[in-house]
């Protein structure tokens, strides 16, 4: 059970809550329905200027020359900002917790890596004058070959998207090109299985589509400080990111947020604040930078696409004995938060099931697509979709009711999870029972009586012998079915991803970064287990 230190956090939580079944007013609802909630864009400041950015017309191109001379003379233009004006024009969001290398400029300098990447910012008296000046900027592009597919990006000779990561993969622990999970021996598990099923799943990027687009207003304050009204959903995270990019102490800024017009993860990337503040620094005037709707939809970061291969070995009685997962997370052109999504995914495998042999390789891959970011359970949601589709197919394959099939394989209290933590507070069995009851789905009596608190642990709590070196595939017994007859049968040789040879396993592969995990919690609102 989660323990709350009442001696320290006496007022933190009311233990006598009786809210379920009652109509409770949300604390911010009155302001929303009466139109009195204050958003960042409700501040019209004296002498406020407007910032707009010129975006790349190409997904991958070298920038030969940027000519702003005509735009400089355009009416209403106060300042043109280029990459060389940004004090530290290279950053990665999670550098604040020492995770990843700086790989993304605020304004592109030598080349652009995705269509829509900001190149030049124009600060003008009105949004229209800023747009008119942008139309006068001439950029001489040298288009480069682009790569949009995660597996293509890993092939030898693929275009290098981001020179910080020349292999087109994020680097973990300064050596590894993917996150690895090894628990037991999947190859032995497959050999002992009655059926083996391998499937490919593809997730698309998903846009958060907030009602309020990303934006901020920065205004000079006294003592060389700046007030920043912002839509961010991660106020201090954005503040520290700006302090780093603008190379000033973080107490230079007074960030005011609070009311976010829809975030869902799409407002942690600190897209607008650095340039709005820099504009205020360079002009001495308040500067407003708001994404338009098309900018938000097209160039605002989405939930990343994922390609997932799952190979499962299952016994006739419904027990899954081996699960092998290879996944490629499409980070787009820059890291943002996809590196962390991969870590979360590795810790989540093989889903809420106890499987004695688990194998996972998860890659954070760079492509010439819009950088991806956080969104509601990113790293887990897409994988769960694939796993649960796979569970239905497996249940069909062995002829077992899909609800009961999940109960058979559900983890229970005391079981060892694949990342070597004991399962606690498990409740999948109870969830399935309630869902079946609500849906009037018939469960057999023995499955209705099962419990997450019984029959876990024991042999299920042991860490199985795990081979260090890759084991050669063993020939499958003749009776195995290897294709799934409801879907399109794909020959395994064709769909097998082309991956670089895996590096040797680290002595004790950590599934999650041990440093800074508490600050992750404060940033993303997730709770450490």
């Amino acid at each position: 059970m989660l323990e709350l230190r009442k001696d320290i956090f006496a007022d933190e939580r009311d233990d006598n809550l009786k809210e379920i079944g009652k109509g409770t007013q949300r604390q911010d609802m009155l302001g929303h329905v009466t139109g009195t909630s204050t958003y960042f864009d409700d501040h019209k400041l004296q002498g406020m200027l407007h910032l707009k950015v010129l975006r790349s017309a190409h997904p991958h191109a070298r920038l030969r020359r940027i000519d702003t001379s005509e735009a400089d003379r355009a009416p209403g233009v106060r300042r043109i900002i280029r990459g060389s004006d940004v004090p530290r024009n290279l950053n990665t969001l999670l550098s604040l917790i020492n995770f990843g290398k700086d790989d993304e400029p605020t304004l592109a300098v030598d080349k652009v890596r995705y269509k829509g990447e900001p190149i030049v910012a124009v600060v003008a008296d009105s949004p229209l004058e800023a747009f008119e000046a942008i139309a006068k900027i001439r950029v001489d592009y040298e288009p480069l070959p682009a790569v949009f597919d995660v597996e293509e990006a890993l092939k030898p000779g693929a275009p290098v998207v981001n020179e910080t990561y020349p292999k087109n993969t994020f680097t973990y622990h300064e050596r590894y090109d993917h996150q690895k999970l090894r628990f037991g021996d999947v190859e032995r598990g497959f050999a002992e299985s009655d059926h083996v099923l391998e499937q490919r799943y593809q997730m698309s990027p998903i846009e958060h589509a907030p009602t309020e687009t990303n934006g901020s207003i920065a205004a000079p304050d006294t003592n060389g400080r700046y007030v920043v009204y912002t839509s961010t959903q991660a106020l201090f995270f954005s503040l520290d990111t700006c302090a780093k990019i603008l190379d000033v102490p973080s107490n230079t800024f007074h960030f005011i947020g609070g009311t976010v017009g829809g975030g869902f993860g799409g407002k942690v990337d600190t897209l607008t604040e650095p340039l709005a503040i820099l504009g205020a620094m360079l002009t001495g005037r308040p500067v407003r930078y708001v994404l338009g709707r098309e900018e938000e939809m097209q160039y605002g970061p989405p939930r990343g696409a994922e390609r997932i291969f799952i190979k499962d070995g299952v016994k006739r009685d419904g027990r899954i004995v081996a699960r092998k997962i290879t996944a490629y997370f499409d980070s787009g052109a820059y890291t943002r938060l996809s590196s962390y999504a991969v870590v979360k995914c590795a810790a989540h495998l093989p889903g809420p099931y106890t499987i004695p042999n688990v194998y996972g390789d998860i890659y954070c891959v760079f492509t010439n697509r819009t950088p991806a970011t956080a969104m509601r359970g990113f790293g887990v949601t897409g994988m769960d979709f694939a796993i649960e589709c796979q569970m239905d197919k497996l249940a069909h394959l062995v002829g077992i009711d899909p609800m009961e099939f999940r109960i058979i394989n559900a983890y229970r209290d005391g079981d060892m999870k694949a990342h070597r933590r004991e399962a606690k507070n498990t409740a999948l069995i109870e969830c399935v029972q309630v869902a079946a009851d609500k849906a009037k789905w018939p469960l057999r009596e023995e499955f209705k009586r099962m419990s997450s608190r019984k029959e876990g642990g024991g042999a299920r709590a042991e860490i199985p012998p795990t081979p260090r070196e890759p084991v050669a595939s063993r020939p499958a017994p003749a009776q195995q079915r290897t294709s799934y007859d409801r879907g399109i049968a794909m020959p395994a040789s064709e769909q097998r991803p082309v991956a670089p040879p895996p590096p040797p396993a680290p002595p004790s592969p950590p599934a999650a970064p041990s440093h800074g995990a508490t600050r992750f919690s404060s940033v993303f609102g997730t709770r450490r287990r």
Partner: protein, 272 residues
């Protein structure tokens, strides 16, 4: 340069202002022009408006219906005599867009918008235009083919014959998001009949080309025949003949071609 707003009392003054200034844009309900301005469209320097009430007039008393270009979709929905146009009017935007969006503006709405115009095309509407040389009537098909050139003119009204029966005019908009999604494909069919046979079928498609177009092969498959399974199958099979829809964020051109016949079949056979 700031955008200038000019309001004129008469439509002829508006027409003169539009024809003399290429950067002038007529503002009807603003659902297209204000969006363009907010998104940074710098081709608009002047906004022209008209205070002339003739633009908002509806004449639905006779067999030929005349609708002013400034009539909103909300007003069409409030007009009992225009019941045959309620389905297309209701398929446009949400309540806010229907309150502001106008029939005239819809003629210029780019894909995936412009659903009302699809209905007007199937009804063989006539567009009344005030250009540099005065007022003239243009068949809607001709108007749409040369739509880009009509930017410098003012649309005054559209008119069409009232369908003979409620069953003679059918309309359907296919969207992924209901009720406010953009069109994947919009279909309208006018099926005048005499003696049990269709005579002068009109089938119009939206989102299958840059402007609404007629599916003439499907029309030919219906003409002179009764609306039975054979004729419907022939029309469904021919619906994409000579049509090559484009890809956009809502659907691929391939998908549009695949589903066009399916939805035409449902429309003609009265299936949900």
């Amino acid at each position: 340069m700031p955008v200038t707003v000019k309001t004129f009392a008469s439509t002829s003054e508006v027409a003169a202002a539009l024809s003399s200034d290429r950067s002038a844009r007529y503002l009807g309900g603003g659902t297209l022009v204000m969006r363009a301005l907010n998104e940074g469209d710098i081709s608009i320097a002047t906004i022209v408006r008209a205070a002339d009430t003739t633009l908002t007039r509806i004449d639905a008393s006779s067999s030929r219906v005349v609708i002013g270009a400034g009539v909103t979709f909300a007003r069409i929905l409030a007009e009992r005599d225009l019941a045959f146009l309620h389905a297309p009017a209701r398929s446009i935007g949400g309540p806010a867009v229907r309150n502001m969006g106008t029939v005239g503006g819809n003629l210029f709405a780019p894909v995936p918008y412009g659903d009302f115009t699809v209905a007007l095309l199937a009804l063989d509407a006539v567009v009344s235009v005030h250009g540099g040389l005065g007022v003239r009537d243009i068949a809607i098909e001709e108007f749409l083919q040369s739509r880009e050139r009509h930017g410098g003119t003012l649309v005054l009204s559209v008119s069409c014959a009232r369908p003979a029966s409620a069953d003679a005019f059918r309309y359907r908009k296919i969207a992924r998001i209901k009720p406010k999604g953009g069109s994947i494909i919009t279909l309208a069919a006018h099926l005048p009949s005499g003696g049990g046979r269709i005579n002068g079928a009109r089938i119009a498609l939206g989102s299958m080309a840059p402007v609404p177009i007629r599916a003439k092969a499907a029309e030919r498959a219906l003409d002179g025949r009764s609306l039975d399974g054979t004729a419907i199958s022939a029309a469904a099979a021919a619906v994409t003949e000579g049509i090559s829809p484009a890809d956009n964020a809502l659907a691929s051109g391939w998908y549009r071609r695949e589903i066009a016949g399916v939805h035409l079949r449902r429309l003609l056979s009265g299936q949900e």
